[in-house]
């Protein structure tokens, strides 16, 4: 028997496999394909204080081993989530993590305050790394003082678990990770997408309406893995690893590098059942390798 339970800052997940914000909707979109109760957790689509229409189409470009997106946080706002969506999805026996975003610190505070008393939601993901909005988003995550300021502000109003989602578009991700740790983050998730660009040589125009967008998929996996390893060696808080995880082997590599849990992102677009296959694959790996507790894989890289 393999014990798949993992612990993120005191919160037990039934297994280390969660789904990444922006790649899994609110979970309902996958209800026909998988048993959502089997997931360790769901990081739902990014939420803001007010309704956001997002960026213009085209918002997506296929790239070698990955894709660029420029969705721009389209969502109907935190109140719509709490009043209309959450009542439908709270039935699932999995951890729901809202991913919260803002243009100014006050927006983050207002959203976090609304979430603080919601029974059944035990943590949030503080997104300071969205590359696709003009103001806010990544602007908070690429400077240590602003990353710390927004984390500290949300810490003051939010009593449960704060997982800060870090941007890879920085010179030294460990500085930001250490900063948000000292500002009260309970965990970090990394990495968000890498800033990228696609051009159509025939039309001489950018493919995306926003010109630049966020790169995801296997193309970014080695970068993400390196950053998880660096952050693991720099902070004491747990890490949720993200970046091009396509199968159980990828997930295990992220755990070995220091992740306590992982998020499956872009792979959900290609195989809507992949998250469950990854859970089964991790279990099989542990059985085959005599690992009784999957949590023992965290940081177990042999160097």
């Amino acid at each position: 028997m393999v014990n798949l339970n993992v612990n993120i800052a005191g919160l037990n997940l039934k297994n280390p496999v969660t789904t990444a914000s922006g790649t899994f909707g609110f979970g309902e979109e996958f209800e026909d394909f998988i048993d959502l109760n089997r997931l360790g957790g769901i990081f739902v689509k990014g939420l803001t204080l007010k309704n956001r229409e997002g960026n213009d189409y085209p918002r997506m470009a296929e790239t070698p081993s990955g894709m660029l997106n420029a969705v721009g946080l389209q969502n109907k706002g935190i109140d719509y989530f709490l009043n209309t969506i959450y009542p439908k999805i709270k039935k699932w026996d999995t951890e729901i993590f809202p991913n919260i975003n803002g243009s100014v610190v006050e927006d983050y505070i207002a959203v976090a305050e609304k979430l603080n008393d919601v029974e059944g939601i035990h943590g949030l993901e503080l997104n300071i790394s969205c590359p696709n909005v003009k103001e806010g988003g990544m602007a908070f995550g690429v400077s240590c003082p602003s990353a710390m300021a927004v984390t500290r502000a949300v810490r003051e109003v939010y009593d449960k678990i704060i997982i800060v989602k870090l941007s890879p578009n920085v010179t030294d991700i460990t500085e930001i990770a250490k900063g948000v740790e000292s500002a009260g983050a309970d965990a970090v998730s990394l990495v968000n997408t890498l800033l990228g660009m696609a051009i159509d040589a025939h039309t001489r125009k950018p493919v995306l309406s926003t010109i630049t967008g966020g790169l995801s998929g296997p193309a970014i996996k080695p970068v993400a893995l390196r950053m998880v390893w660096q952050v693991y060696n720099a902070v004491k808080i747990p890490i949720v690893g993200i970046g091009g995880i396509m199968n159980a082997t990828d997930a295990i590599e992220f755990m070995l590098a220091g992740s306590s849990a992982i998020q499956v992102g872009t792979a959900n677009f290609i195989d809507p059942q992949i998250s469950i296959k990854i859970i089964d694959g991790i279990k099989e790996y542990c059985s085959n390798n005599g690992i009784a507790n999957v949590a023992d894989l965290t940081g177990a890289l042999i160097t």
């Binding site: 909707g25 997002g54 918002r59 296929e62 081993s65 997106n69 998929g217």
Partner: protein, 254 residues
């Protein structure tokens, strides 16, 4: 219900060097598919094609457990889908999206261009079943680009326009004489390139005829998770994959 299912390639019917119909079969039952629904097809043996390809369903046979897609080879993915061995495995996610409305006992016009003609065989077949009279108007660059007219002829009158005049009336679909003067159609359906659909919708509005357009935006997930394929509507940006692909043209802000 949406599902992921493995199929096997039965064979191809090449219409010309770039256009083909692929027939797939399954060992298990095929889900109900409505006219306008599409599938997300994983391109096999093609590591440089990362995402699935959204393709409209051409036809389905629940007795034989076969499904057909009409595909125009435009890029690496659609070219590779036309180059598979018989019996090779193809994985699809389907049925996706909404479908065209089925209007009972009326007269309708179906306007298609390019690969946009794909959903219209199933649509016409359903319309005929409810005693609706169907007229097709197919637009193409040239005679060699006009496909499936034999199939369409089984369901109704087929009108054609070609840009070079090599078949039917010369010009764009919207220049066809059928649009001149009064039109006694109760409903128009259109699918094809955006400029064609916009022009058709414009005429429909002027003549006060309800019009449904099926959009072909680029997609990643096909199930409403990524929000990449949106189109602006009177209700805000909506996913073509879940709120569409079929929209009431009056709701579109294109």
């Amino acid at each position: 219900m949406k599902r992921v299912q493995d199929f096997n390639v039965v064979g191809y019917n090449w219409l010309n060097k770039d256009n083909y119909i692929i027939t797939l079969s399954s060992d298990s039952d095929i889900e109900n598919i409505d006219p306008g629904n599409f599938a997300e097809i994983k391109v096999p043996n093609s590591p440089d094609v990362f995402l699935r390809r959204p393709i409209s369903v051409l036809d389905v046979d629940h007795g034989e457990n076969t499904i057909k897609f009409y595909i125009k080879a435009m890029g690496k993915g659609t070219r590779q889908l036309g180059n598979l061995d018989v019996d090779s495995k193809v994985n699809i996610v389907y049925p996706l999206g909404n479908s065209f409305s089925i209007i009972h006992r009326k007269k309708v016009l179906i306007v298609g261009g390019g690969s946009g003609i794909a959903p219209f065989i199933m649509l016409a077949s359903k319309l005929i079943d409810v005693s609706t009279e169907v007229t097709f108007l197919i637009g193409a660059r040239s005679k060699g680009d006009v496909f499936l007219t034999d199939e369409f002829n089984k369901f109704g009158k087929v009108l054609v326009t070609t840009e070079d005049g090599s078949m039917g009336e010369k010009g764009l679909v919207t220049q066809h004489s059928i649009f001149a003067g009064n039109m006694d159609f109760d409903h128009i359906y259109t699918c094809g390139p955006d400029p064609m659909m916009k022009a058709v919708a414009q005429i429909a509005h002027e003549k006060n005829i309800p019009c449904e357009a099926s959009l072909e935006n680029m997609m990643a997930c096909g199930i409403g998770a990524c929000l990449c394929c949106v189109t602006p509507t009177v209700r805000g940006n909506e996913c073509v994959c879940t709120e569409g692909p079929v929209f009431n043209s009056k709701d579109l802000k294109w």
